[in-house]
Protein backbone atom coordinates (compact mmCIF):
# COMPACT_ATOMS: atom_id res chain seq x y z
CA UNK A 1 0.00 0.00 0.00
CA UNK A 2 1.09 3.55 -0.61
CA UNK A 3 0.18 6.54 1.52
CA UNK A 4 1.30 10.00 0.51
CA UNK A 5 1.26 12.82 3.04
CA UNK A 6 1.31 16.26 1.48
CA UNK A 7 3.32 17.95 4.21
CA UNK A 8 2.98 21.46 2.87
CA UNK A 9 1.72 23.36 -0.13
CA UNK A 10 4.68 25.74 0.13
CA UNK A 11 7.65 25.62 -2.21
CA UNK A 12 10.74 27.73 -2.71
CA UNK A 13 10.70 27.13 -6.47
CA UNK A 14 8.24 28.46 -9.00
CA UNK A 15 8.03 25.76 -11.66
CA UNK A 16 5.38 26.64 -14.23
CA UNK A 17 4.57 23.00 -14.98
CA UNK A 18 3.96 22.02 -11.34
CA UNK A 19 0.65 20.23 -11.03
CA UNK A 20 0.32 21.29 -7.41
CA UNK A 21 -0.79 24.72 -8.58
CA UNK A 22 -0.52 27.86 -6.53
CA UNK A 23 1.74 27.61 -3.49
CA UNK A 24 0.64 28.61 -0.03
CA UNK A 25 1.79 27.96 3.46
CA UNK A 26 -0.67 25.33 4.70
CA UNK A 27 1.15 22.55 6.55
CA UNK A 28 -0.22 19.21 7.57
CA UNK A 29 -1.34 19.33 11.22
CA UNK A 30 -0.18 16.53 13.46
CA UNK A 31 -3.76 15.42 14.08
CA UNK A 32 -4.31 14.86 10.35
CA UNK A 33 -1.07 12.92 9.95
CA UNK A 34 -1.94 10.79 12.97
CA UNK A 35 -5.37 9.97 11.57
CA UNK A 36 -3.92 9.21 8.17
CA UNK A 37 -1.41 6.78 9.66
CA UNK A 38 -4.01 5.17 11.92
CA UNK A 39 -6.43 4.79 8.99
CA UNK A 40 -3.72 3.22 6.85
CA UNK A 41 -2.35 0.82 9.45
CA UNK A 42 -5.89 -0.32 10.24
CA UNK A 43 -6.00 -1.70 6.72
CA UNK A 44 -2.65 -3.47 6.81
CA UNK A 45 -1.69 -6.96 7.85
CA UNK A 46 1.73 -7.81 9.31
CA UNK A 47 2.72 -9.39 6.00
CA UNK A 48 2.03 -6.21 4.08
CA UNK A 49 4.41 -3.55 2.90
CA UNK A 50 3.82 0.16 3.18
CA UNK A 51 5.40 3.07 1.40
CA UNK A 52 4.83 6.44 3.00
CA UNK A 53 5.58 9.27 0.62
CA UNK A 54 6.34 12.76 1.86
CA UNK A 55 5.28 15.30 -0.68
CA UNK A 56 4.80 19.00 -1.19
CA UNK A 57 5.34 21.72 -2.25
CA UNK A 58 8.85 21.17 -1.11
CA UNK A 59 8.82 18.64 1.73
CA UNK A 60 12.10 19.93 3.14
CA UNK A 61 10.27 23.17 3.99
CA UNK A 62 8.41 20.94 6.44
CA UNK A 63 11.38 18.79 7.41
CA UNK A 64 10.35 18.90 11.06
CA UNK A 65 7.00 17.36 10.13
CA UNK A 66 8.65 14.76 7.93
CA UNK A 67 10.85 13.61 10.80
CA UNK A 68 8.01 13.55 13.29
CA UNK A 69 5.55 11.73 11.04
CA UNK A 70 8.07 9.22 9.79
CA UNK A 71 9.11 8.32 13.34
CA UNK A 72 5.43 7.88 14.10
CA UNK A 73 5.01 5.66 11.04
CA UNK A 74 7.94 3.56 12.20
CA UNK A 75 6.31 3.21 15.60
CA UNK A 76 3.06 2.05 14.01
CA UNK A 77 5.00 -0.39 11.86
CA UNK A 78 6.77 -1.81 14.88
CA UNK A 79 3.54 -2.26 16.80
CA UNK A 80 1.91 -3.90 13.83
CA UNK A 81 4.93 -6.08 13.12
CA UNK A 82 4.80 -4.80 9.55
CA UNK A 83 7.07 -6.66 7.18
CA UNK A 84 8.36 -3.57 5.44
CA UNK A 85 8.06 0.18 5.76
CA UNK A 86 9.82 2.53 3.42
CA UNK A 87 9.70 6.28 3.22
CA UNK A 88 10.03 8.25 0.00
CA UNK A 89 10.52 11.93 -0.54
CA UNK A 90 10.71 13.97 -3.70
CA UNK A 91 12.73 17.12 -3.26
CA UNK A 92 14.19 19.91 -5.34
CA UNK A 93 17.33 19.37 -3.20
CA UNK A 94 18.05 23.07 -2.80
CA UNK A 95 17.58 22.76 0.96
CA UNK A 96 19.28 19.40 1.34
CA UNK A 97 22.36 19.21 3.53
CA UNK A 98 24.47 16.38 4.95
CA UNK A 99 22.65 16.32 8.27
CA UNK A 100 19.25 15.93 6.67
CA UNK A 101 20.50 13.37 4.19
CA UNK A 102 22.09 11.31 6.93
CA UNK A 103 18.84 11.30 8.88
CA UNK A 104 16.83 10.25 5.84
CA UNK A 105 19.15 7.36 5.04
CA UNK A 106 19.34 6.22 8.64
CA UNK A 107 15.56 6.18 8.88
CA UNK A 108 14.87 4.42 5.62
CA UNK A 109 13.58 7.38 3.65
CA UNK A 110 14.54 7.26 -0.02
CA UNK A 111 15.11 10.66 -1.54
CA UNK A 112 14.52 11.49 -5.17
CA UNK A 113 15.87 14.72 -6.58
CA UNK A 114 14.21 16.81 -9.26
CA UNK A 115 16.73 18.22 -11.71
CA UNK A 116 15.82 19.03 -15.28
CA UNK A 117 19.24 18.34 -16.74
CA UNK A 118 21.69 20.85 -18.12
CA UNK A 119 21.52 24.39 -16.78
CA UNK A 120 19.76 25.78 -19.84
CA UNK A 121 16.96 23.22 -19.52
CA UNK A 122 16.74 23.38 -15.75
CA UNK A 123 16.56 27.16 -15.69
CA UNK A 124 13.71 27.23 -18.17
CA UNK A 125 11.29 25.60 -15.77
CA UNK A 126 12.75 25.38 -12.28
CA UNK A 127 13.64 28.86 -11.01
CA UNK A 128 13.43 29.97 -7.42
CA UNK A 129 10.26 31.90 -6.64
CA UNK A 130 12.28 35.11 -7.03
CA UNK A 131 13.14 34.07 -10.57
CA UNK A 132 16.79 33.29 -9.92
CA UNK A 133 18.40 30.07 -11.06
CA UNK A 134 18.13 27.12 -8.71
CA UNK A 135 20.54 25.03 -10.77
CA UNK A 136 23.64 25.35 -8.62
CA UNK A 137 21.75 24.76 -5.40
CA UNK A 138 19.95 21.74 -6.82
CA UNK A 139 23.17 20.27 -8.19
CA UNK A 140 24.89 20.76 -4.85
CA UNK A 141 22.00 18.99 -3.13
CA UNK A 142 22.12 16.15 -5.61
CA UNK A 143 25.81 15.60 -4.92
CA UNK A 144 25.13 15.48 -1.18
CA UNK A 145 22.40 12.92 -1.80
CA UNK A 146 24.57 10.78 -4.06
CA UNK A 147 27.45 10.82 -1.60
CA UNK A 148 25.23 9.23 1.02
CA UNK A 149 22.90 7.23 -1.22
CA UNK A 150 24.45 6.33 -4.57
CA UNK A 151 21.17 5.05 -5.92
CA UNK A 152 19.42 8.37 -5.43
CA UNK A 153 17.00 8.82 -8.25
CA UNK A 154 16.82 11.92 -10.40
CA UNK A 155 13.56 13.07 -11.88
CA UNK A 156 13.99 15.08 -15.04
CA UNK A 157 10.85 16.58 -16.49
CA UNK A 158 10.72 16.87 -20.25
CA UNK A 159 8.38 19.32 -21.89
CA UNK A 160 8.21 20.77 -25.39
CA UNK A 161 10.55 23.60 -24.40
CA UNK A 162 13.29 21.32 -23.13
CA UNK A 163 12.82 18.23 -25.29
CA UNK A 164 15.57 19.29 -27.68
CA UNK A 165 18.02 19.02 -24.79
CA UNK A 166 16.74 15.68 -23.48
CA UNK A 167 19.71 13.51 -24.46
CA UNK A 168 22.22 16.14 -23.42
CA UNK A 169 20.44 16.48 -20.10
CA UNK A 170 20.31 12.74 -19.56
CA UNK A 171 24.03 12.51 -20.24
CA UNK A 172 24.75 15.39 -17.91
CA UNK A 173 22.78 13.77 -15.11
CA UNK A 174 24.41 10.38 -15.62
CA UNK A 175 27.80 12.06 -15.69
CA UNK A 176 27.15 13.27 -12.15
CA UNK A 177 27.24 9.63 -11.07
CA UNK A 178 23.48 9.14 -11.12
CA UNK A 179 22.47 5.55 -11.78
CA UNK A 180 18.70 5.85 -11.52
CA UNK A 181 17.05 8.32 -13.85
CA UNK A 182 13.46 9.05 -14.71
CA UNK A 183 12.72 11.13 -17.76
CA UNK A 184 9.23 12.21 -16.97
CA UNK A 185 6.98 13.74 -19.57
CA UNK A 186 4.99 16.84 -18.81
CA UNK A 187 1.75 15.36 -20.07
CA UNK A 188 -0.19 18.53 -19.51
CA UNK A 189 1.97 20.50 -21.96
CA UNK A 190 0.97 21.18 -25.52
CA UNK A 191 2.79 18.50 -27.47
CA UNK A 192 2.56 18.78 -31.24
CA UNK A 193 3.99 16.67 -34.03
CA UNK A 194 7.21 18.64 -34.25
CA UNK A 195 7.81 18.31 -30.52
CA UNK A 196 7.04 14.60 -30.69
CA UNK A 197 9.46 14.13 -33.58
CA UNK A 198 12.14 15.86 -31.53
CA UNK A 199 11.22 13.64 -28.61
CA UNK A 200 11.73 10.53 -30.71
CA UNK A 201 15.06 11.71 -32.05
CA UNK A 202 16.30 12.61 -28.59
CA UNK A 203 15.00 9.42 -27.07
CA UNK A 204 16.95 7.38 -29.60
CA UNK A 205 20.06 9.09 -28.25
CA UNK A 206 19.00 8.28 -24.71
CA UNK A 207 18.72 4.65 -25.81
CA UNK A 208 22.30 4.83 -27.07
CA UNK A 209 23.42 6.21 -23.73
CA UNK A 210 21.66 3.35 -22.00
CA UNK A 211 23.34 0.75 -24.21
CA UNK A 212 26.75 2.39 -23.87
CA UNK A 213 26.50 2.31 -20.09
CA UNK A 214 25.91 -1.46 -20.16
CA UNK A 215 28.79 -1.98 -22.56
CA UNK A 216 31.18 -0.26 -20.19
CA UNK A 217 29.99 -2.34 -17.26
CA UNK A 218 27.54 0.21 -15.86
CA UNK A 219 24.18 -0.81 -14.56
CA UNK A 220 22.09 2.30 -14.93
CA UNK A 221 18.34 2.41 -14.72
CA UNK A 222 16.25 4.65 -16.93
CA UNK A 223 12.68 4.22 -15.82
CA UNK A 224 10.87 4.30 -19.16
CA UNK A 225 13.37 1.99 -20.88
CA UNK A 226 13.61 -0.41 -17.98
CA UNK A 227 9.85 -0.58 -17.67
CA UNK A 228 9.39 -1.45 -21.31
CA UNK A 229 12.06 -4.17 -21.23
CA UNK A 230 10.68 -5.55 -17.98
CA UNK A 231 7.20 -5.56 -19.48
CA UNK A 232 8.47 -7.60 -22.41
CA UNK A 233 10.28 -10.07 -20.14
CA UNK A 234 7.19 -10.61 -18.05
CA UNK A 235 4.95 -11.09 -21.04
CA UNK A 236 3.12 -7.88 -20.21
CA UNK A 237 2.82 -5.79 -17.10
CA UNK A 238 1.14 -7.44 -14.15
CA UNK A 239 -1.37 -6.07 -11.70
CA UNK A 240 1.38 -5.25 -9.23
CA UNK A 241 3.00 -3.01 -11.83
CA UNK A 242 -0.11 -0.99 -12.40
CA UNK A 243 -1.28 2.15 -10.75
CA UNK A 244 -3.50 1.34 -7.79
CA UNK A 245 -5.29 4.67 -7.89
CA UNK A 246 -7.40 5.16 -4.80
CA UNK A 247 -7.38 1.50 -3.85
CA UNK A 248 -3.87 0.54 -2.81
CA UNK A 249 -2.79 4.13 -3.00
CA UNK A 250 -4.11 7.22 -1.25
CA UNK A 251 -2.86 10.79 -0.90
CA UNK A 252 -3.86 12.98 2.02
CA UNK A 253 -3.78 16.77 1.77
CA UNK A 254 -3.01 18.99 4.78
CA UNK A 255 -6.74 19.61 5.05
CA UNK A 256 -7.40 15.90 5.47
CA UNK A 257 -9.01 15.52 2.08
CA UNK A 258 -8.17 12.21 0.43
CA UNK A 259 -7.23 11.73 -3.23
CA UNK A 260 -6.52 8.67 -5.32
CA UNK A 261 -3.07 10.02 -6.18
CA UNK A 262 -0.95 12.95 -5.01
CA UNK A 263 -0.83 14.32 -8.53
CA UNK A 264 -4.49 15.18 -8.27
CA UNK A 265 -4.28 17.09 -4.99
CA UNK A 266 -3.30 20.35 -6.67
CA UNK A 267 -4.48 23.27 -4.59
CA UNK A 268 -6.87 20.94 -2.79
CA UNK A 269 -9.93 22.72 -4.10
CA UNK A 270 -11.30 20.40 -6.81
CA UNK A 271 -13.96 18.08 -5.38
CA UNK A 272 -13.90 16.13 -8.66
CA UNK A 273 -10.88 14.18 -7.52
CA UNK A 274 -11.62 13.92 -3.80
CA UNK A 275 -12.50 10.42 -2.65
CA UNK A 276 -13.09 11.18 1.02
CA UNK A 277 -11.75 12.82 4.15
CA UNK A 278 -9.51 11.31 6.74
CA UNK A 279 -12.19 11.86 9.41
CA UNK A 280 -14.59 9.54 7.63
CA UNK A 281 -12.29 7.55 5.32
CA UNK A 282 -12.69 6.78 1.65
CA UNK A 283 -16.21 7.24 0.34
CA UNK A 284 -16.85 4.19 -1.88
CA UNK A 285 -19.35 6.06 -4.02
CA UNK A 286 -16.87 8.84 -4.74
CA UNK A 287 -14.09 6.36 -5.32
CA UNK A 288 -16.18 4.45 -7.82
CA UNK A 289 -17.02 7.68 -9.56
CA UNK A 290 -13.39 8.73 -9.83
CA UNK A 291 -12.03 5.28 -10.56
CA UNK A 292 -14.88 3.91 -12.63
CA UNK A 293 -13.43 4.60 -16.04
CA UNK A 294 -10.16 2.87 -15.36
CA UNK A 295 -9.17 -0.58 -16.51
CA UNK A 296 -11.54 -0.77 -19.46
CA UNK A 297 -9.52 -0.12 -22.58
CA UNK A 298 -11.08 2.01 -25.27
CA UNK A 299 -11.01 0.81 -28.93
CA UNK A 300 -7.71 2.53 -29.75
CA UNK A 301 -5.96 0.78 -26.87
CA UNK A 302 -7.73 -2.49 -27.58
CA UNK A 303 -6.31 -2.47 -31.09
CA UNK A 304 -2.79 -1.67 -29.94
CA UNK A 305 -0.28 -4.53 -29.82
CA UNK A 306 1.57 -2.76 -27.02
CA UNK A 307 -1.41 -2.52 -24.70
CA UNK A 308 0.00 -5.04 -22.23
CA UNK A 309 3.26 -3.15 -21.91
CA UNK A 310 1.74 0.31 -21.72
CA UNK A 311 1.05 2.47 -18.70
CA UNK A 312 -2.40 3.16 -20.10
CA UNK A 313 -3.97 2.22 -16.79
CA UNK A 314 -2.21 4.96 -14.81
CA UNK A 315 -5.21 7.01 -13.76
CA UNK A 316 -3.38 10.22 -12.94
CA UNK A 317 -1.25 10.17 -16.11
CA UNK A 318 -4.38 9.61 -18.14
CA UNK A 319 -6.21 12.36 -16.28
CA UNK A 320 -3.37 14.80 -16.81
CA UNK A 321 -2.91 13.97 -20.47
CA UNK A 322 -6.54 13.57 -21.53
CA UNK A 323 -8.71 14.69 -18.62
CA UNK A 324 -10.14 11.17 -18.34
CA UNK A 325 -8.69 8.62 -15.91
CA UNK A 326 -9.59 5.81 -18.29
CA UNK A 327 -8.09 7.16 -21.49
CA UNK A 328 -4.45 8.03 -22.16
CA UNK A 329 -3.81 11.30 -23.94
CA UNK A 330 -2.08 11.43 -27.31
CA UNK A 331 1.30 12.48 -25.88
CA UNK A 332 1.24 9.63 -23.38
CA UNK A 333 0.14 7.12 -26.02
CA UNK A 334 2.69 8.07 -28.64
CA UNK A 335 5.65 8.44 -26.31
CA UNK A 336 4.90 5.03 -24.82
CA UNK A 337 5.24 3.63 -28.34
CA UNK A 338 8.57 5.38 -28.78
CA UNK A 339 9.78 4.00 -25.46
CA UNK A 340 8.89 0.45 -26.49
CA UNK A 341 10.56 0.77 -29.89
CA UNK A 342 13.82 2.15 -28.51
CA UNK A 343 13.84 -0.20 -25.52
CA UNK A 344 13.43 -3.24 -27.77
CA UNK A 345 16.20 -2.16 -30.09
CA UNK A 346 18.63 -1.57 -27.23
CA UNK A 347 17.65 -4.75 -25.43
CA UNK A 348 17.90 -6.84 -28.57
CA UNK A 349 21.44 -5.62 -29.23
CA UNK A 350 22.57 -6.10 -25.64
CA UNK A 351 21.06 -9.57 -25.51
CA UNK A 352 22.75 -10.83 -28.65
CA UNK A 353 26.00 -9.26 -27.60
CA UNK A 354 25.70 -11.42 -24.50
CA UNK A 355 26.17 -8.34 -22.35
CA UNK A 356 26.74 -9.75 -18.86
CA UNK A 357 25.33 -6.74 -17.03
CA UNK A 358 22.20 -6.83 -19.13
CA UNK A 359 21.72 -10.57 -18.65
CA UNK A 360 22.30 -10.32 -14.93
CA UNK A 361 19.92 -7.42 -14.54
CA UNK A 362 17.02 -8.50 -16.69
CA UNK A 363 17.28 -12.29 -16.65
CA UNK A 364 18.80 -12.51 -13.18
CA UNK A 365 21.51 -14.48 -14.87
CA UNK A 366 24.32 -14.03 -12.43
CA UNK A 367 26.62 -16.47 -14.17
CA UNK A 368 26.65 -14.19 -17.18
CA UNK A 369 29.48 -12.34 -15.49
CA UNK A 370 31.67 -15.29 -16.50
CA UNK A 371 31.20 -14.29 -20.07
CA UNK A 372 32.44 -10.77 -19.49
CA UNK A 373 35.09 -9.65 -21.93
Amino acid sequence: MELTLVLTHACNLGCPYCYMGKKFGRRMPEAIAEKALAWTFDRLQPDDELQVGYFGGEPLLAYDLLQKYHLRAQEYARLKGLRKLVGAMTTNATLLDETKMNWLVEHGVVAAVSLDGVKAAHDLNRPFVNGKSSFDAALRGLKIALARAPLTEVLCVIDPQTVGMMAESAKFILDQGVRVLSLSLNYAANWDEAALATYEREYEKVGELFGSAFRTGGDIYIASLDAKIAGRLKGGLKDCDRCSFGVGEVAVAPSGNMYPCERLVGEDNDPKWQIGHIDSGVDPVRLRKVNGGRGVLDPVCQACPLKDRCMNTCGCSNAMSSGDVGVPGAALCLTEQIHAKVADRVARNLFWEGNPVFLRKFYHDTSAALAAP
Binding site: V86, A227, K234, R263, S317, R360
Partner: protein, 181 residues
Protein backbone atom coordinates in the same frame (compact mmCIF):
# COMPACT_ATOMS: atom_id res chain seq x y z
CA UNK B 1 -0.79 20.43 -35.37
CA UNK B 2 -2.17 18.59 -32.36
CA UNK B 3 -1.46 14.94 -31.80
CA UNK B 4 -3.88 12.09 -32.14
CA UNK B 5 -3.67 8.69 -30.58
CA UNK B 6 -3.27 5.68 -32.78
CA UNK B 7 -2.44 2.05 -32.12
CA UNK B 8 1.18 1.03 -32.54
CA UNK B 9 2.21 -0.77 -35.69
CA UNK B 10 1.46 -4.48 -35.72
CA UNK B 11 3.61 -6.26 -33.22
CA UNK B 12 6.87 -7.63 -34.42
CA UNK B 13 9.17 -9.96 -32.58
CA UNK B 14 11.14 -7.74 -30.21
CA UNK B 15 14.16 -9.88 -30.99
CA UNK B 16 15.00 -10.99 -27.49
CA UNK B 17 13.34 -13.67 -25.40
CA UNK B 18 11.06 -13.12 -22.49
CA UNK B 19 12.03 -14.65 -19.17
CA UNK B 20 10.18 -17.88 -19.75
CA UNK B 21 11.58 -18.40 -23.23
CA UNK B 22 15.05 -17.65 -21.94
CA UNK B 23 14.79 -20.27 -19.20
CA UNK B 24 13.45 -22.84 -21.63
CA UNK B 25 16.14 -22.19 -24.21
CA UNK B 26 18.84 -22.38 -21.59
CA UNK B 27 17.55 -25.63 -20.17
CA UNK B 28 17.31 -27.13 -23.63
CA UNK B 29 20.78 -26.01 -24.53
CA UNK B 30 22.31 -27.37 -21.36
CA UNK B 31 20.54 -30.66 -21.88
CA UNK B 32 21.92 -30.92 -25.40
CA UNK B 33 25.40 -30.05 -24.23
CA UNK B 34 25.19 -32.69 -21.51
CA UNK B 35 23.91 -35.34 -23.92
CA UNK B 36 26.58 -34.52 -26.47
CA UNK B 37 29.29 -34.69 -23.85
CA UNK B 38 28.09 -38.09 -22.64
CA UNK B 39 27.83 -39.39 -26.21
CA UNK B 40 31.28 -38.08 -27.03
CA UNK B 41 32.85 -39.71 -24.02
CA UNK B 42 31.08 -42.99 -24.71
CA UNK B 43 32.21 -42.95 -28.30
CA UNK B 44 35.77 -42.26 -27.31
CA UNK B 45 35.86 -45.12 -24.83
CA UNK B 46 34.35 -47.49 -27.36
CA UNK B 47 36.90 -46.46 -29.93
CA UNK B 48 39.74 -46.89 -27.49
CA UNK B 49 38.62 -50.35 -26.50
CA UNK B 50 38.50 -51.31 -30.16
CA UNK B 51 41.62 -49.74 -31.59
CA UNK B 52 43.57 -48.51 -28.67
CA UNK B 53 44.80 -45.01 -28.27
CA UNK B 54 46.49 -43.35 -31.17
CA UNK B 55 48.51 -40.26 -31.26
CA UNK B 56 46.02 -38.48 -33.43
CA UNK B 57 43.00 -38.64 -31.20
CA UNK B 58 44.32 -39.98 -27.97
CA UNK B 59 42.94 -38.14 -24.98
CA UNK B 60 45.05 -37.14 -22.10
CA UNK B 61 46.68 -40.30 -20.74
CA UNK B 62 44.82 -41.75 -17.84
CA UNK B 63 47.90 -43.38 -16.34
CA UNK B 64 50.83 -41.75 -14.69
CA UNK B 65 53.98 -41.25 -16.77
CA UNK B 66 56.18 -44.27 -16.70
CA UNK B 67 59.37 -43.95 -14.80
CA UNK B 68 62.24 -45.88 -16.33
CA UNK B 69 63.22 -48.93 -14.42
CA UNK B 70 66.38 -48.65 -12.44
CA UNK B 71 69.26 -50.67 -13.84
CA UNK B 72 69.33 -53.92 -12.09
CA UNK B 73 72.16 -56.34 -11.76
CA UNK B 74 71.75 -59.70 -13.42
CA UNK B 75 73.39 -62.89 -12.37
CA UNK B 76 76.38 -63.65 -14.53
CA UNK B 77 75.84 -66.03 -17.40
CA UNK B 78 72.22 -65.20 -17.94
CA UNK B 79 71.16 -63.37 -21.04
CA UNK B 80 69.63 -60.02 -20.64
CA UNK B 81 65.89 -60.08 -20.64
CA UNK B 82 63.93 -57.26 -22.09
CA UNK B 83 60.99 -56.13 -20.03
CA UNK B 84 57.73 -57.16 -21.54
CA UNK B 85 55.10 -54.59 -22.15
CA UNK B 86 51.39 -54.91 -22.42
CA UNK B 87 48.96 -52.70 -24.10
CA UNK B 88 45.50 -52.98 -22.61
CA UNK B 89 42.85 -53.87 -25.06
CA UNK B 90 45.24 -54.77 -27.84
CA UNK B 91 46.11 -58.08 -29.32
CA UNK B 92 48.99 -57.16 -31.53
CA UNK B 93 52.56 -57.33 -30.36
CA UNK B 94 53.23 -53.72 -31.20
CA UNK B 95 54.62 -51.75 -28.31
CA UNK B 96 53.23 -48.32 -27.60
CA UNK B 97 55.73 -46.62 -25.37
CA UNK B 98 53.48 -44.21 -23.49
CA UNK B 99 51.22 -46.98 -22.33
CA UNK B 100 53.97 -49.53 -21.64
CA UNK B 101 54.17 -50.92 -18.17
CA UNK B 102 57.31 -52.79 -17.21
CA UNK B 103 56.71 -56.16 -15.73
CA UNK B 104 58.29 -56.56 -12.37
CA UNK B 105 61.60 -58.28 -12.48
CA UNK B 106 61.68 -61.69 -10.83
CA UNK B 107 63.29 -61.94 -7.42
CA UNK B 108 67.01 -62.04 -7.60
CA UNK B 109 67.28 -60.34 -10.94
CA UNK B 110 69.86 -57.65 -10.56
CA UNK B 111 71.44 -57.07 -13.95
CA UNK B 112 70.58 -53.98 -16.00
CA UNK B 113 68.52 -54.96 -18.94
CA UNK B 114 68.42 -52.50 -21.76
CA UNK B 115 67.79 -48.95 -22.58
CA UNK B 116 65.13 -47.44 -20.37
CA UNK B 117 61.69 -46.83 -21.70
CA UNK B 118 61.34 -43.28 -22.89
CA UNK B 119 59.34 -41.07 -20.58
CA UNK B 120 56.34 -39.68 -22.36
CA UNK B 121 55.97 -35.94 -22.88
CA UNK B 122 53.72 -34.16 -20.42
CA UNK B 123 50.14 -34.23 -21.56
CA UNK B 124 49.20 -31.39 -23.86
CA UNK B 125 45.76 -29.86 -24.23
CA UNK B 126 43.75 -32.16 -26.42
CA UNK B 127 41.48 -31.41 -29.27
CA UNK B 128 37.88 -32.34 -28.66
CA UNK B 129 37.57 -36.01 -29.66
CA UNK B 130 35.54 -37.00 -32.65
CA UNK B 131 31.95 -37.40 -31.65
CA UNK B 132 32.28 -34.82 -28.90
CA UNK B 133 30.03 -31.86 -28.28
CA UNK B 134 31.48 -29.68 -31.02
CA UNK B 135 31.89 -25.95 -30.89
CA UNK B 136 30.05 -24.13 -28.15
CA UNK B 137 27.47 -21.67 -29.46
CA UNK B 138 27.90 -18.01 -28.85
CA UNK B 139 26.73 -16.37 -25.68
CA UNK B 140 24.47 -16.26 -23.83
CA UNK B 141 25.10 -19.68 -22.38
CA UNK B 142 24.28 -19.69 -18.76
CA UNK B 143 22.74 -21.80 -16.08
CA UNK B 144 19.20 -21.34 -15.01
CA UNK B 145 18.15 -18.84 -12.40
CA UNK B 146 18.76 -20.18 -8.98
CA UNK B 147 21.70 -22.28 -10.06
CA UNK B 148 24.21 -19.83 -8.72
CA UNK B 149 24.42 -17.59 -5.75
CA UNK B 150 23.00 -14.09 -6.20
CA UNK B 151 25.39 -11.24 -6.69
CA UNK B 152 24.95 -7.52 -6.37
CA UNK B 153 21.86 -6.47 -8.23
CA UNK B 154 21.54 -3.36 -10.32
CA UNK B 155 19.39 -0.40 -9.40
CA UNK B 156 16.29 -1.81 -10.98
CA UNK B 157 16.05 -4.14 -8.05
CA UNK B 158 17.50 -1.94 -5.39
CA UNK B 159 14.19 -0.40 -4.43
CA UNK B 160 11.64 -2.14 -6.55
CA UNK B 161 8.83 -1.12 -4.28
CA UNK B 162 9.57 2.56 -4.10
CA UNK B 163 7.56 4.55 -6.55
CA UNK B 164 8.78 8.08 -6.72
CA UNK B 165 6.57 10.92 -7.74
CA UNK B 166 7.44 14.48 -8.48
CA UNK B 167 8.15 17.08 -11.07
CA UNK B 168 5.40 16.55 -13.50
CA UNK B 169 5.64 12.83 -13.59
CA UNK B 170 5.07 9.79 -11.56
CA UNK B 171 7.48 6.94 -11.78
CA UNK B 172 6.26 3.45 -11.23
CA UNK B 173 9.23 1.17 -11.07
CA UNK B 174 8.84 -2.20 -12.63
CA UNK B 175 10.75 -5.14 -11.28
CA UNK B 176 11.15 -7.78 -14.00
CA UNK B 177 10.47 -10.56 -11.53
CA UNK B 178 7.44 -9.26 -9.66
CA UNK B 179 4.17 -10.82 -10.62
CA UNK B 180 5.79 -13.59 -12.58
CA UNK B 181 3.93 -16.84 -12.66
Amino acid sequence: MSLERKPADPEQDPGYPNSQEYSTQRRTFLTLIGAAAVAGLGGLLAYQSYAGPTTSIAPKPLVAPIVPAKPQAMPLGEPPVAPQVETPGRTSTQVTPPEATPRAAPPGVVAPVQAPVKTPEPAQPQAIPLGGPGPVPAKPVTPAKGDVAPVELPPAHANPDVNIRGGSGKVVHIDPTRGQA
